[in-house]
């Protein structure tokens, strides 16, 4: 610590006792009372925050910043630190002291520096400061007085936002007793301070003009919300400016400062004008006031460079509001006289930056369309700034040309910027051109302010130059700079260049031929300058390696080749040891990547960078957001960008924000068009393929995709990421696959016709490989992930099941069934679990799965019943009675309600009973005038889930990304405007959302399914003549009906290593099945059904239908032995159909109030039909609907006698 090695510390600064100063020893009593500092502050000598123990604001950062220092160091100080109150008291006394000289010394060396440590000055010091202000003649004292008065003025008091930092000043109330005059508040002193300062600022005495300038500056700190203060300031400022301008133009100093090269009067005027402009800049702009504009524009000719800077800042800001007036004023005062050209050589970087902005605004102003001459003058100055020795100015000019001015730039401006950069030519004006010294620039770098630009003797006419070439050379030389800020800024400029280029690509009419040669344009333009000296080369471009423009045409470079070489320069920058520079370079590369080029190199660079642990998470997320923005600018690049994003997910899962990644996925999925959706989804599923973050698995699994997840935090992050991916997959798989139950052309029963196991799966996967792939991944996750992932996977699966048509729903149903009984067979799961131990409890998902399975049970059961009823009616040639229709409609609504609990479906379109039900339901609706959209009151709608979809019930939602980005603050400029990417997304959403994937049409298998359909229809017709057969076939849409091909899925997933998982399905009453199945080798089951289908091709339909029936029976409560399956099936072909289980009746023992939508209110004594039991609940049906209109639902088992 500093105090131990004898050096002075900040504590010493405060602690050295002002009382020790001769002459005032007696005047500084020790004031422990009312001064909170000393005891606490003395704990930690050494630094600012050590004293800040008192200050709530400063305390915590101090600890935060230097945890090593939090241990309390024993008091090592001999002297007690001086408290704020002691300082205040000393100030009061010294201000009143008779001996001005000694008190000045003490003030300057003791009191004022110590007071500076505190972040605010309490108003009770103001009277003493004002006294000093009036009486003291010591310039040092006065300078401090202005400093503190300014701080008193700027203090926002109770707002807590003190402009400075430092130790919090102790509570002023505690100091009130120190005041001779009693409690002094800010409100008391501020008017006095303002009064005194403005009096001084208005003092026209030349001798005291330095004080006048200081007073004006201090006065600027006064709150400008006060009109009185504001008016006074305007009065003073305009008074000065008027006087200065009336006195005529000040002779300009060139270059050097502090040297008295002009007469005193001019110097004073220049000083005052500077002070006035500086104050004016801090005052609110007054657009529309010609005097304001006039004085500001006059300021451009100010002799003081900082004054010029302020004037240009004001004018450029005004130019955004009233470009025409500004352009005219500047043209009249500054442009014509060559003042603006002089600014090009002004020794003030920021002045030239503001000049670039001003010229940019005026050269693009629409209102100046009538005055192309003026515009071109501004444009020329802007182009000339590209030659500026300071990188800051040059880059600002490049950004302006590229259309990057503020965050609100429009896409057209950016595209136009790219066109301008690639085609424009810098022609030097006749006036003395700004020439900068190349060697000076090389020396300067950006970080170092440029030395005064050396003047050259009148330069000869110079050849025009292609802007693009200038910029490229400048950037390349910047990339060779060893200075990090220069590298960072250059990379940023390249990034902006990429943005403008992407904008030009995406907009029509802005195409730039990148194989063209900018030099050709120059040659054309410069033909009239053919006689100009060839040796007059572009000396202003540093380290110019390229042959002069006038050299043989063979040396000409195309835009493309120059861009390539720039990209190469950016790539080499990735070797910089500063991670932020590397980040900027990678962002630049992402933006410069063209959709048609190979991106292997970029991929390799990013992959290499991600292995570096020094990357901070925030920077990585920024790069991900850059990918996002890049995608929005060029939707064609979705695939490339997703691959890059996947790198982040695989390499640094612990550092990236899953929200950001999801945003990227979602945008890509929505925007990359029908053809890219599969790829987009694949990118998501890659995350699911990541090995679990266990060290053991890391070494054995996927060595090429090793996950940096050895520490628990990363493991947790990875898990979150996987969860996010699973959720995303479930939510979006249907969209990506364009497979919706309500748009499916395949009736639900059709799947059952594809009873050959392999054929069914083949049909499923070939009909829609995207969805099939997603299902596979989710199934793996439901087995293999951590518990949280499994839960999300199960939810994702049910979402897909609900939203998809057959055979996907069936597939999921099968799977969920298997999952629910996984415990009995988990020994065979080993291959599927990625090595993770499932534990004795199996998947542990039964509580999650049972409602899902029950839902699907209900759906399939209702479908069965519907088909049977329809057949009955058809056979009897009977119309549907209103009662029957009502029952059907109720079932439909009930199922819809149930379905809506799991995920959003468009109620008006969704048909849980299958497409065949739509006619009947519509009949009922029409009869009873029920609005199909009435269901929009369902919980999913109410909770906003349906916001994901648009009101037209098209899927997915339009424009969700446009206005409300998922992650706050992620929106960027390109996305906010009406960009083509947005339009593309939205057009796509509006039009193409219902398109079936191409693969479906190309594939023969869907046709196969139609042929099955035909066969099925034929069967139905034939069966209609036979009651028995008819009854059997009526159950064909039940999920259980696929028992015989239940191994379908197993063989399909055989490669994944859990063939037996799909060995059978059952209802919630699994136990008999479970026992039998667990003792059965599943391979045999597979063989059985395979044999069935292969050995008896003509019969497989019948057999499978039998299987279906058998399953249907099982569902109803019968259980069959799997052992006897073939016989059973064959035997039951001729059996009479047993339509339902024997109804079981019960009576409500107690009143029961439903606790949810699925539950049913009971009144004691009510008679009930018990439909089935699940997890301690009966699903019961009442004889008549209760008061709430519900007829069936769940009730606790104990409430019912059975």
């Amino acid at each position: 610590m500093a105090s131990q090695d004898g050096s002075t510390t900040l504590m010493d600064l405060i602690s050295s006792d002002p009382a020790s100063v001769p002459g005032n020893a007696s005047s500084l009593p020790v004031l422990g009372k009312g001064a909170p500092e000393p005891p606490k502050a003395s704990r930690k000598p050494g630094a600012l925050q050590s004293v800040s123990a008192v200050a709530a604001e400063s305390l915590s950062p101090a600890r935060l910043l230097s945890p090593v220092k939090t241990s309390i160091v024993p008091i090592a100080k001999k002297k007690k630190p001086v408290s704020y109150s002691q300082l205040a008291r000393s100030l009061h006394e010294l201000a009143a002291a008779a001996d001005q000289k000694s008190s000045s010394t003490q003030l300057v060396h003791q009191i004022f520096p110590k007071l500076a440590v505190y972040n605010s000055v309490d108003p009770s010091l103001a009277p003493s400061l004002l006294m000093l202000h009036q009486q003291s003649e010591d310039r040092q004292v006065l300078r401090y007085v202005y400093y503190y008065l300014a701080r008193i003025l700027s203090d926002s008091g109770g707002q807590g936002v003190a402009p400075g930092g430092g130790i919090s000043t102790p509570n002023w109330d505690a100091l009130a007793d120190l005041n001779a005059s009693g409690g002094v508040t800010r409100a008391d002193v501020v008017p006095r301070v303002i009064e005194q300062l403005s009096k001084e600022a208005a003092n026209a005495d030349v001798e005291v003009h330095a004080k006048r300038v200081a007073a004006l500056k201090a006065l600027t700190y006064a709150p400008t919300s006060n009109d009185e203060v504001l008016n006074r300031l305007y009065e003073i400022v305009f008074g000065i400016l008027e006087k200065v301008s009336d006195a005529g133009k000040v002779k300009r100093k060139k270059g050097m400062f502090g040297r008295q090269t002009i007469d005193k009067e001019s110097a004073v005027r220049s000083n005052l004008q500077y002070a006035a402009l500086s104050t004016l800049r801090r005052l609110p702009l007054d657009p529309g006031n010609p005097a304001f504009l006039h004085r500001a524009v006059q300021g451009i000719a100010c002799a003081d460079p900082v004054g010029v800077r302020h004037a240009l800042a004001i004018v450029s800001e005004l130019a955004t509001r009233e470009p025409y007036a500004v352009a005219m004023a500047v043209d009249k005062i500054a442009l014509s006289g060559g003042t603006l050209q002089e600014v090009l050589q002004l020794h003030d970087v920021l002045a030239r930056v503001y000049l670039a902005r001003l010229c940019f605004i005026l050269s693009r102003a629409r209102v100046l369309d009538e005055r192309p001459d003026i515009r071109s003058q501004y444009q020329t100055i802007l182009y000339q700034l590209l030659l500026d020795p300071s990188e800051r100015v040059c880059f600002e000019a490049i950004m302006c040309i590229l259309g990057k001015f503020d965050s609100n730039e429009r896409l057209e401006e950016r595209a136009g910027g790219w066109v301008m950069l690639t085609t424009a030519i810098l022609k030097f004006p006749d006036a003395p051109a700004p020439v900068s010294n190349s060697s000076q620039q090389a020396k300067d770098g950006a970080g170092v302010p440029s030395k005064a630009a050396k003047e050259r003797p009148a330069s000869r006419p110079r050849r025009p130059q292609a802007l693009f070439k200038l910029v490229m050379r400048r950037l390349e030389s910047a990339f060779r700079s060893p200075i990090r800020p220069v590298l960072h800024a250059a990379a940023r400029v390249v990034q902006e260049m990429g943005k403008s280029r992407a904008a030009a690509y995406s907009l029509r009419g802005y195409a730039v031929d990148e194989d063209s040669h900018p030099d050709t344009l120059v040659d054309n333009a410069s033909s009239d300058l053919a006689n100009s000296e060839l040796e007059q080369t572009d000396a202003e471009v540093p380290r110019n390696k390229v042959a002069p423009l006038s050299s043989a045409s063979g040396g000409k470079e195309s835009i493309h080749s120059m861009l390539s070489s720039l990209k190469e320069a950016v790539r080499t920058t990735v070797a910089c040891e500063c991670v932020y520079v590397r980040g900027a370079a990678i962002k630049a590369l992402i933006w410069m990547q063209s959709p048609h080029e190979s991106f292997d190199e970029l991929k390799a660079i990013i992959a290499g960078e991600l292995s570096d642990p020094s990357w901070p998470a925030s920077l990585l997320n920024e790069i991900l957001l850059t990918l996002h923005a890049r995608f929005k600018a060029t939707p064609d690049m979705a695939v490339i960008l997703l691959e890059l994003a996947t790198l982040f997910a695989t390499k640094v899962p612990g550092k990236i924000d899953s929200d950001v990644l999801q945003l990227l996925w979602k945008t890509c999925l929505l925007g990359c068009g029908p053809s890219g959706k599969h790829t987009a989804l694949e990118a998501v599923t890659v995350v699911l393929d990541l090995p679990p973050p266990q060290p053991a698995s890391m070494s054995t699994y996927h060595s090429n995709k090793r996950v940096m997840a050895a520490d628990p935090k990363s493991a947790l992050a990875l898990q979150k990421l996987v969860q996010a991916a699973v959720w995303f997959l479930g939510e979006n798989a249907n969209y990506a696959a364009s497979e919706y139950a309500w748009e499916s052309v395949t009736p639900p029963g059709t799947a059952l016709m594809m009873l050959d196991v392999d054929k069914m799966v083949a049909a499923a996967s070939s009909r829609n490989p995207t969805l099939a792939g997603a299902l596979t991944r989710l199934q793996r996750c439901a087995f293999g992930g951590s518990w949280e992932v499994r839960v999300v996977a199960a939810q994702a699966l049910i979402t897909i099941a609900i939203r998809s048509g057959e055979p996907y729903r069936m597939q999921v149903y099968e799977f969920l069934q298997a999952l629910a009984q996984g415990a009995s067979r988990h020994s065979s799961l080993e291959m599927a679990t990625n090595g993770e131990d499932q534990g004795a409890s199996g998947t542990g998902l039964s509580s999650i799965l049972s409602p899902m399975i029950r839902l699907l049970d209900d759906v399939y059961k209702a479908q069965d019943e519907l088909i049977r009823d329809m057949r009955n009616h058809d056979n009897k040639k009977q119309e549907w009675s209103d009662d029957e229709l009502r029952k059907l409609y109720e079932t439909h609504e009930r199922l819809l309600d149930l379905v809506s609990l799991f995920c959003y479906v468009p109620r008006a379109k969704y048909l849980p009973l299958g497409p065949t039900s739509s006619t009947l339901i519509n009949i009922y609706r029409n009869r009873h005038r029920i609005d199909a959209s009435s269901g929009f009151n369902d919980p999913a709608v109410a909770t906003g889930i349906s916001d994901l979809l648009n009101s037209q019930l098209q899927y997915p939602p339009p424009m969700i990304e446009k206005d409300e980005p998922l992650v706050a603050g992620l929106s960027d400029g390109l996305w906010t405007g009406s960009t083509p990417a947005v339009d593309m997304v939205n057009e796509f959403l509006v039009g193409a959302g219902t398109d079936a994937p191409d693969v479906e049409e190309e594939n023969a298998l869907p046709r196969t399914s139609i042929s099955y359909d035909d066969m099925w229809a034929k069967q139905l017709l034939e069966a209609s003549e036979n009651e028995d057969v008819e009854l059997q076939s009526s159950g064909s849409s039940s999920p259980e009906s696929v028992a015989s091909y239940s191994t379908t899925t197993s063989s399909h997933f055989g490669g994944l290593g859990y063939p037996s998982l799909f060995g059978g399905s059952s209802t919630t009453n699994y136990s008999p099945w479970e026992k039998q199945l667990s003792s059965q080798p599943t391979g045999r089951v597979s063989n059985i059904s395979m044999d069935l289908s292969s050995d008896q091709p003509p019969d497989y339909m019948g057999a499978s239908r039998m299987g279906a029936q058998r399953q249907s029976d099982t569902f109803m409560g019968h259980s069959d032995s799997f052992d006897n399956l073939p016989d059973d099936m064959m035997g039951r072909v001729d059996d009479d159909y047993q339509p339902q289980e024997t109804p079981q009746f019960g009576k409500a023992l107690y009143d029961f109030t439903a606790g949810g939508d699925e539950e049913l209110n009971l009144t004691a004594g009510e008679e009930l039909e018990i439909e089935y039991e699940v997890d301690g609940w009966f699903h019961v049906r009442k004889r008549k609907p209760g008061r709430d209109g519900k007829i069936s639902g769940l009730v606790p088992v104990l409430y019912v006698t059975s």
Binding site: A2, S7, T8, T9, L10, L13, G46, L48, S50, E57, S60, P61, A62, L65, S66, K69, F112, K114, A116, V117, R139, Q140, L142, R143, Y144, Y146, Y147, V161, P163, G165, G166, H209, K211, T220, F257, G258, Q260, I262, K264, V268, S270, N271, S278, D304, V306, V349, L350, R392, A446, G447, V448, P449, R484, P485, H488, A489, C578, Y580, G583, A584
Partner: protein, 146 residues
Amino acid sequence: MLMCVLFTNTAGNILLERFQGVQAEERLHWRSFLVKLGTDNLSGAHNEELFVASHKSVYVVYTAIGDISVFVVGKDEYDELALAEVLYAITSCVKDICQKAPTERAFLDKYGRVCLCLDEIVFEGTLEHTDKDRIRRLARLKPIAD
């Protein structure tokens, strides 16, 4: 907007800070972020070697001079290059006041003057003067030019 100028010693203790337009709670984050940057990167750095960092659209440029680390944070027109200008003005002033590369002691001895000079360099969140001579004159209440 020049959001922050911060001086720390080599151990990461804050010696002097000036914030503009940064809320109190954000200041805590900035302090810790800057000090961490300094401790991570500035050990072994050359005098006045410039370092850069960024967070979204906010830039940070920092350097070490003697025992003192100086950080400047800015946004909008105060990008990394403009911040380098600011930093250059600050370091040349500090060197001027403390003679050569300052020790912590020398810095604290001249604390008041550093504050006055900083007041001339950074004025309400903008860069004001960059010229060493001008700053010296203004800090002594002399006319900029006479």
